[in-house]
Amino acid sequence: MIMIVILLPILAGILVPLIPFKKRSHMEIFLEALVVLNSLLVWYMLLHRAESIFTLANFTGNLSISFKVDGMSMVFAGLVSALWPFATLYAFEYMTKEEHERVFFMFYTMTYGVTLGISLAANLLTMYFFYELLTLVTVPLVMHTLTREAILASRKYLYYSLGGAAFAFIGLIFVIIYGSTTNFVLGGVLDVEKIGGRTNILLLIYVIAFMGFGVKAAICPFNSWLPDAGVAPTPVTALLHAVAVVKSGAFAIIRLTYYSFGTDFLKGTWAQNVVMAITMFTIVYGCSRAVKETHLKRRLAYSTISNLSYILFGVTIMTPLGLIGALSHLVFHAVMKISSFFCAGAIMHQTDRHYVHELDGLGYKMPCVFGIFTVSAFALMGVPGLSGFVSKWNLAFAAVESGNMLAYGGIGCLLISALLTAIYMLTIVVRAFFPGKDFDAGTLKGITDPNWKMLLPLFVFTLFIVLFGLHSAPIIKFFGDVAAGIY
């Protein structure tokens, strides 16, 4: 079953350019149906989870390619498969203005399968394998428009990602040597006897592996690929760089920290302080760059950099509560950020305006889009009543509970970031709705809200932002169970 959900999108993707569709809408229906089917299968599988590990192939020694559905898989796979059908729908509309659609949708759908592979991996090797594959399958998407900028951006993305994976690879090796198994077990698999006195080396390797996977999760100083990748079409930026690719990086770090090295080994060590400090720095850095950035999508990209480090901050607290905080922000931010990006994409699609200072007064012409953008802005800031507040709350709570002084500083970073987020998001909202006295509405003739294919996903996401904001108890409880290892 697991193999089906991973392979189906990959195959569907490969088929797209090969089948000669008569009309574009046929292709759309084909693809959407397959994606929806796959998502349903995933959810079915998550709800009726089998306990066992499914091994596909054995490599040398005790290394194998295996899959498993455990708590973390449920979270990530559930998130990805819930968002993908909407994203595909949105992409159909958006891509009417771009070219080479077939190839685009091929890689776009293949990415779905690969991301599921990462989430369902049962051991570090399998995850590493799909991780590399994810890079390869998303590079053509970044490169899509084939402008000079796009090619440079995709190269940068490729180098950074492969480089990061190379260093994460070192971590993999050490887990192989010093762990009783490479499988993911909550609490870690390191064999204390084997380690002997080499604790410091292992901590160093952990930090290296953290930074390696962290490249995809855009931590400083390896984050500059993300804003550059904003040159890709918006469905790519939104789904991949706000949800799938970067969250895979965060997911990998969660696996590394809680399921491979284990928090008992890492907590209280200098390694924890180093990685926590890095995440704290990134939180503030990302937001500061966002404030200065005038290109809309790049601004949102910097926002993503910052928010990813919220998740990683939660991870570095290294307690079950920290994991809960991290997971809640993983899910909630994905929804918030994808709706922000989709709004930005809608704006660019309808008006061809890319810069913040060009957005004056558009709020009245595209009320739905900007209304939703405002909601996502409030959510990112952390206004109570929306999902962002809940995830920030959980993160702060975990930090306070941990008693770690550095973590207290982390709360400060979170709040500074909240303020900066308010600045860079609300200035856009204010511009759109309060354009100022000497504004000429005549420049906005003929601009309307986009059609249902783009609006429907936006509404659904907003609904979830509000729902999670007001009624988050069930899902937080679920995260608590995952953190406690019940799944």
Partner: protein, 490 residues
């Protein structure tokens, strides 16, 4: 209990309705709607106050540990009564005033929403509910500030937004710790910090308390984060400034009351470095505010600095943590509210009728609008602290409380600063009166016209003036009411 919800929701929904519906040709229908909504809201609030009783009411749970609770206690009564009175007055004033501004519908929409949010703040039963609506307050009042859409207005609006958010987040930091180490987040007279929490985590809790004071103090215009006030007031429409200075900033004061007396408890904070530092900041603000007001030529900005200073009078009363001073502080909440609202409405009327914004241009205004300027004079006297106005009573209690508090240095320094500030207040308020009624020999009397503003504008000002004097003449009932409450929290 449902009245609590209704009194909060009705204005918010009404405001949203106004925002969303299409522009109507007929201005009169808009005004009629708004007026009706305002009155209904006020009625609902009064019914809630009368009928709700002292119980707590949980609306729903935001998360497992964070319920949204409403409760009506004496502090709620005080603040909510003041709020609806001022909102009604400023609301009717604005029907006339907004004739010379545009996009009225948006203004009234947000005006109503702000009213609903403020009522929610008054009725909030725990820190998280309070925080939720505090954030909403900032977000919904910002459009009022930048209403007229000029570049300065937008800049001022953004400045207001960011300062307020900065303050809110500082308070949020504290919220996290209070939730962890306090017994509960619900407001309880005397505080929620238990003995062992105080001894085990005292240091961090004090730090957190200080941060919360600074954070909420931003809204209350406390140094060093007061700079948004003088930026926001001149650009906002006058009735909005009135509401801002008289009521919205009181939300900051309300927050501090809740934090100091109902969360941390005066016993926890008394005598600590937090109290001392806070008092230094307050006294600094009082003096500085008055000084800057004295030197400011633009009328509305002068009044803004005055607010900065006057709010710190209230905060001083709260910081001293003595029964008398707290009484004085709370009385001043009421008095200053009415007085400042009246002052701003006067300034607004002058701008509306003559277009003049600078103090030196107000020569001879008394001849043109005698009634208005009389009201102005009376409330100014109240602000300076001359009997028998309300302002005198509150200042009396403040000084007395300070002297009897027993805090070294501040027990005499406080009253001295209050006195100096009173002199400065006279210095910045009275020249308008003097020049207005006695413009001097070289004034061109022929250019004078009778320009008394219409009833819709004068009556609210009159009401507010009368109220401020009434408190001065009959303080007994209010003081009685307050002292019951204060006993519980000192």
């Amino acid at each position: 209990m449902q009245y609590i919800i209704l009194s909060i929701l009705f204005p918010i929904v009404a405001g949203l309705y106004l925002l969303i519906r299409k522009e109507s040709e007929n201005r009169k229908t808009l005004l009629l709607c708004t007026g009706t909504f305002l009155i209904i809201s006020a009625v609902l609030v009064i019914m809630a106050l009368c009928l709700a009783g002292g119980g707590m009411f949980t609306l729903f749970n935001l998360t497992d540990k964070l319920p949204i609770i409403f409760k009506i206690d004496e502090v709620s009564v005080l603040f909510s009564v003041m709020t609806i009175i001022i909102f009604l007055c400023a609301g009717f004033f604005s029907f006339e005033y907004m004739k010379h501004e545009e996009k009225e519908k948006r203004y009234y929409g947000f005006y109503l929403i702000v009213l609903g949010v403020l009522i929610a703040l008054c009725f909030a039963g725990n820190l998280i509910t309070f925080y939720l609506f505090f954030e909403m307050l900032t977000l919904s009042s910002m459009p009022l500030v930048l209403h007229n859409g000029s570049r300065e207005a937008i800049m001022a609006g953004l400045k207001y937004l960011f300062y307020s958010l900065c303050g809110a987040y500082m308070a949020l930091f504290g919220l996290y710790f209070v939730e962890r180490y306090g017994n509960t987040l619900t407001f309880s007279a005397g505080g929620v910090i238990s003995e062992q929490a105080a001894s085990a985590h005292g240091g961090i809790l004090l730090l957190v308390a200080f941060l919360m004071l600074l954070g909420f103090g931003v809204k209350a215009g406390m140094f060093p984060m007061h700079a948004w006030l003088p930026a926001a007031h001149p650009v906002a429409p006058a009735p909005a400034s009135a509401v801002l200075s008289a009521v919205i900033v009181k939300a900051g004061v309300l927050a501090i009351i809740r934090v100091v007396y109902y969360i941390f408890g005066s016993s926890f904070l008394k005598g600590t470095w937090v109290q001392t530092t806070w008092m230094i900041l307050i006294l600094l603000t009082i003096f500085m505010g008055s000084m800057l007001a004295y030197r400011e030529p633009v009328m509305k900005k002068r009044l803004a600095y005055s607010t900065v200073s006057q709010l710190s009078y209230i905060l001083f009363g709260l910081a001293v943590m003595d029964a008398g001073s707290v009484t004085g502080g709370l009385l001043h909440v009421l008095c200053h509210g009415f007085i400042k609202a009246a002052l701003f409405l006067c300034a607004g009327a002058i701008i509306y009728m003559t277009g003049k914004t600078r103090v030196e241009e107000f020569r001879g205004i008394g001849k043109e609008m005698p009634l208005l300027l009389w009201c102005y004079t009376i409330v100014s006297l109240g602000l300076i602290g001359i009997p028998p106005t309300g302002g005198f009573v509150s200042k009396w209690y403040l000084a007395q409380g300070a002297l009897s508090s027993g805090i070294p240095v501040f027990d005499w320094l406080g009253p001295v600063i209050l006195l100096v500030s009173a002199l400065l207040t006279a210095g910045y308020l009275l020249p308008v009166t003097i020049k207005g009624f006695f413009p001097g020999a070289d004034y061109d009397y022929n250019s004078l016209r009778k320009k008394e503003p219409s009833a819709l504008m004068t009556i609210p000002v009159l009401i507010l003036t009368i109220l401020s004097v009434a408190i001065g003449l009959f303080p007994g009932a209010v003081v009685q009411y307050l002292s019951q409450m204060i006993e519980k929290i000192i």
